[in-house]
């Protein structure tokens, strides 16, 4: 199992376990994390699964793809260098312990 910690805008921390191959978004949805809306269910169509990868982890998740960047352009919250769409981050053993921060709002 791969541990992921979500830190919501109000500081709420939730650590949950996912499987290899899950996306960070699907893990958040399965656990009912409020800060991820994921309206399109992972289709890279909505930009409501925006997260900020913790600085310490950003090198491991890597940067966004071009299409992802186009979608993020329309995310409601501020886009930072560490912004990703959580549906585009796939869990692997290398990401065990991953920490992501969630924006104030997704819609």
């Amino acid at each position: 199992m791969i541990k992921v910690t979500f830190i919501e805008y109000d500081g709420t921390r939730t650590t949950v376990e996912g499987r290899n191959g899950d996306s960070v978004m699907s893990l958040a949805a399965a656990q009912g994390i409020d800060g991820i809306v994921a309206e399109c269910g992972g289709g890279m169509m909505c930009a409501t699964c925006h997260c900020y990868v913790d600085d310490k982890w950003f090198a491991r998740t890597g940067p966004r793809s071009d299409d992802e960047a186009d979608m993020l352009d329309c995310a409601v919250a501020e886009v930072r260098q560490t912004s990703r769409l959580s549906c585009q981050i796939t869990l692997s053993d290398a990401l065990d312990g991953l920490v992501v921060h969630l924006p104030e709002t997704q819609v």
């Binding site: 699907s26 949805a29 399965a30 656990q31 009912g32 409020d34 309206e39 399109c40 269910g41 289709g43 890279m44 169509m45 930009a47 299409d67 186009d70 979608m71 352009d73 329309c74 819609v107």
Partner: protein, 398 residues
């Protein structure tokens, strides 16, 4: 109002969002969410896409089981609301009666079943139960016939072709997805699906289903082991109608999404709301409309009257490796301008009303931003900048 009992009829995409948004907006009173389907509320879009390929039903749930408890949302599944007593502000659910302060109708739609002999043999695709049935039946069949060349029929056709089924699609209209899409895009998708091996019978409705084949209006018969009916839907408005609420192709609501009874709201697939551009009542079938309307209603209930509902509609459909995205809303007589291979701009009079793209998230998102401006950009302005929405959206920054 932030106490009081809110009852939500229908636990689909919009009903669930309404319950969550009420809590997020600070509603402290009771919330009861009632749905007639069994099991946890789920997303429908994957039913004709990923789910059909993978069969992973556990990925469809909108929220986990314990979530509703955590948010103090009373979730009643497998229960049907049979009647509304507006004078007493009560709903009837089998033997049970619930009193409400506000009621939200989120009853969605059901498959439209045309009166064709033998139609009972066809599969439908609206619910997870139907999707399971279709998936099981697809295994081990070779020849598929789809009635209806709309989004769902075409998504299934693409999945079935990828699974090496023989696929025929019969559509009474002369072109694909004609209700919402430009003729140019219909044509692009026809060519795409034909290249994948799907065979179309356009302007050729189905007149009969027989054992092992369908019969077309032209008299032709097409062999098929499995028939999918995907010829549109009907809004579930009977409950509203019986309660004396105004209904006209959907439960009619005002700009605050209130029905003709101000204590009762309606949202999503079942509601007809005033389009802020034209003022005409429209009914949309999209996740966007269901969820944005749910959020708007929650704000109105908790904080009192808000701005009139005016969110830009958007929609997507996955067909093979093409992602179709539509921003805005075009009526059938909107004019179209094709830009490049993958984009069609649609105009109502001189104003941009919708943008259709294939695999082009950037233009889609730019269009959503632009259409949120009122008035929408004029044709001449867009033509002057070569239909480059990037240059138009730049204006936002000054």
């Amino acid at each position: 109002m932030n106490d009081g009992h809110v009852v939500i009829v229908g636990a689909g995409q919009g009903g669930v969002q309404a319950a969550l948004s009420l809590r997020q907006e600070g509603h402290g009173g009771a919330i009861t969410l009632i749905g007639d389907e069994e099991g946890l509320p789920y997303q429908r879009p994957p039913l004709s896409k990923d789910y059909l390929k993978t069969g992973q039903a556990e990925r469809l749930a909108l929220r986990p089981a314990d979530y509703f408890d955590r948010k103090a949302i009373n979730l009643w599944t497998g229960r049907r609301v049979d009647g509304i007593d507006r004078a007493a502000r009560r709903v009837h659910v089998g033997q049970d009666t619930l009193t409400y302060d506000r009621l939200i109708l989120a009853t969605g739609t059901r498959n439209l079943i045309p009166p064709i002999p033998g139609i009972g043999r066809a599969f439908g695709l609206r619910t997870l139960a139907e999707a399971k049935g279709l998936r099981d039946a697809l295994n081990g069949t070779r020849r598929i016939a789809v009635i209806g060349g709309g989004f769902i029929g075409l998504e299934v056709a693409a999945v079935a072709r990828a699974g090496r089924h023989e696929v025929h699609v019969a559509e009474a209209a002369p072109r694909l997805m004609s209700r919402v899409l430009s003729p140019q895009m219909s044509e692009r998708f026809r060519a795409k699906h034909e290249a994948l091996g799907t065979r179309f019978h356009l302007g050729n409705g189905v007149t009969e289903l027989r054992d092992g084949c369908i019969v077309l209006a032209s008299g032709e018969t097409i062999d098929a082991d499995l028939v999918l009916l995907a010829a549109g839907v009907r809004p579930n408005t009977e409950l509203a109608e019986a309660a004396g609420l105004a209904v006209d192709n959907g439960v009619v609501v005002d700009p605050l999404l209130r029905t003709s009874d101000p204590e009762i709201y309606a949202l999503g697939d079942c509601c007809a709301f005033p389009d802020p551009e034209s003022g005409n009542h429209v009914r949309l079938e999209s996740v966007q409309a269901a969820t944005d309307q749910a959020r708007a209603i929650a704000r109105t209930i908790v904080h009192g009257a808000q701005e009139p509902y005016a969110k830009v509609p958007w929609f997507w459909s996955d067909q093979a490796d093409w992602k179709l995205q539509i921003a805005g809303l075009a009526d059938p007589d909107a004019t179209s301008v094709t830009v490049g291979e993958d984009t069609v701009f649609r105009f109502s009079g001189n104003r941009l009303c919708a943008v259709e793209t294939i695999n082009n998230a950037k233009v889609h998102m730019q269009a959503r931003k632009l259409l949120a401006r009122r008035p929408a950009p004029a044709y001449d302005d867009l033509a002057r900048c070569g239909f480059d929405l990037g240059r138009e959206t730049e204006k936002d920054r000054v």
